[in-house]
């Protein structure tokens, strides 16, 4: 992962702000109850160790460099039985996990990779977080109906 030396390596999935010795995370800047690493004014927590290749991993090789700002997209493709955040993607140089959503037909798929899942609001937007931040750009399988899961912050390949 690009770190050298005789140190243990971890991958920390949450970054926060260090304020008076407390780690504040998320849009609500909630005080963290768990321990964390600090680096300057930033904190890092929810960490994992023991790195190893994962033969069953779903890795999207090419960098995703095109943000999908399509408004509310309802796929032509059939809804998968289970949609997991199971794809390892590289979005403009940043490694992320993503949901893969096919917005075209099953026979001629066009995949978007979305890093977030939210809920459709009463004004047909996608609520991204507990701060009620919303976005008009999202994908929803079952129509734009309040309360449905929506997938946001989506990217594709430029040449897809």
């Amino acid at each position: 992962m690009g770190l050298d030396g005789d140190a243990a390596q971890y991958c920390c999935t949450v970054r926060g702000d260090l304020v008076e010795g407390v780690s504040l995370t998320g849009c609500l800047l909630s005080p963290s109850s768990t321990s964390f690493y600090q680096d300057g004014a930033s904190t890092y927590q929810e960490c994992y160790g023991n790195p190893a290749p994962k033969p069953s991993a779903l890795i999207v090789e090419e960098e995703l460099n095109s943000a999908a700002n399509y408004g509310a997209a309802v796929p032509d493709a059939s809804k998968p039985a289970v949609l997991l955040r199971e794809y390892a993607v590289n979005i403009m140089g940043e490694l992320e996990g993503a949901y893969r959503v096919n917005i075209n037909t099953d026979a001629n798929p066009f995949y978007l990779y979305c890093t977030g899942r939210g809920v459709v609001t009463d004004n047909a937007e996608c609520r991204r977080n507990s701060c009620d931040d919303t976005t008009p750009d999202f994908v929803v399988y079952d129509g734009v109906a309040e309360g449905e899961f929506c997938y946001h912050t989506c990217f594709s390949r430029n040449d897809a």
Binding site: M1, G2, L3, D4, G5, D6, A7, A8, Q9, Y10, C11, C12, T13, R15, L18, G21, S23, T34, S35, F36, Y37, Q38, D39, S42, T43, Y44, Q45, C47, Y48, G49, N50, P51, A52, P53, K54, P55, A57, L58, I59, E61, L84, R85, E86, Y87, A88, G93, E94, L95, E96, G97, A98, N108, P109, T115, D159
Partner: protein, 251 residues
């Protein structure tokens, strides 16, 4: 009027460029062959085919996942993509970041002795240590294996490749065998951090932290991106209760 010395230089460069044999020849299609109909599982083979840039166009060679109907890969699904690769005849293009190693079969188009003078090779990547359907005989299975000195190809096998009725073919590694070279490609492995870790000491100063998300964590089937943290301090090293018995590796 351009100076005479400049005209001579231009003429010389034209002659030199005409002497380069493979102008316009590029590898522009990389095909992946899978057993699953969504082309999600690691490919069993990757094939580079050579076309010129203009005919057909690179873009026209791209193909989404579809059932393969050619004679070489029956009962498989394939995707193809446009990859422009100048063929220097000195190195193979790479098959992408799949977590599997490959045997590389480099085929030289001019007769024998692996003559690469026209710079026009095709490259086949075969998954290593995978028992797969034999594309030449779909009723049997085959497997590519590696030793320190040889590539071993087992044919006419059962579906576990433990019993094979034909004598395995062996090829010297990195040596020419008539019109092709057999070699080994170790894929770069993407690592996933999988063991939940509790940090002791609050806050713990990290030795170094990545500036951007540059690692993956895997929790069951869920993948998360994260920041790689280097922790070199023995008294604050992160570990979990379970990890005490199986300490995270030190590098």
């Amino acid at each position: 009027m351009a100076p005479a010395y400049l005209l001579v230089a231009v003429a010389a460069s034209v002659v030199m460029s005409l002497a380069v044999p493979s102008v316009g020849d590029k590898f522009v299609q990389r095909s992946f062959y899978h057993l699953d109909s969504s082309c999600s599982v690691t490919p069993l083979a990757v094939y580079f085919s050579r076309w010129t840039i203009s005919n057909p166009t690179c873009e026209s060679r791209a193909r989404t996942c579809s059932v393969e109907d050619d004679e070489f890969y029956p009962n498989q699904y394939s995707t193809a993509e446009c990859v422009i690769f100048d063929d220097p005849a000195s190195s193979a293009p790479t098959p992408g970041s799949h977590p599997v190693d490959f045997v590389v079969e480099t085929v030289f188009n001019i007769g024998s002795d692996c003559d690469n003078s026209n710079g026009a090779n095709n490259y086949y990547y075969h998954a290593l240590d995978v028992c797969m359907i034999d594309v030449d005989d779909p009723t049997s299975y085959m497997k590519y294996e590696l030793t320190d000195t040889h590539i071993v190809v087992k044919y006419n096998c059962d579906n576990t490749c433990t019993t094979c009725s034909l004598t395995p073919q062996t090829y010297d590694r990195d040596s020419c065998s008539y019109d092709r070279m057999w070699s080994y490609y170790e894929s770069p492995k993407t690592s996933f951090f999988t063991e939940p870790t509790t940090i002791i000491g609050t806050p713990s100063a990290a030795v170094s932290v990545s500036q951007s998300r540059d690692c993956y964590a895997a929790v069951g089937q869920t993948v998360l991106g994260g920041w790689a943290v280097n922790d070199g301090s023995d008294d604050v090293r992160a570990h979990s209760v379970e990890a005490k018995a199986r300490q995270a590796p030190r590098h």
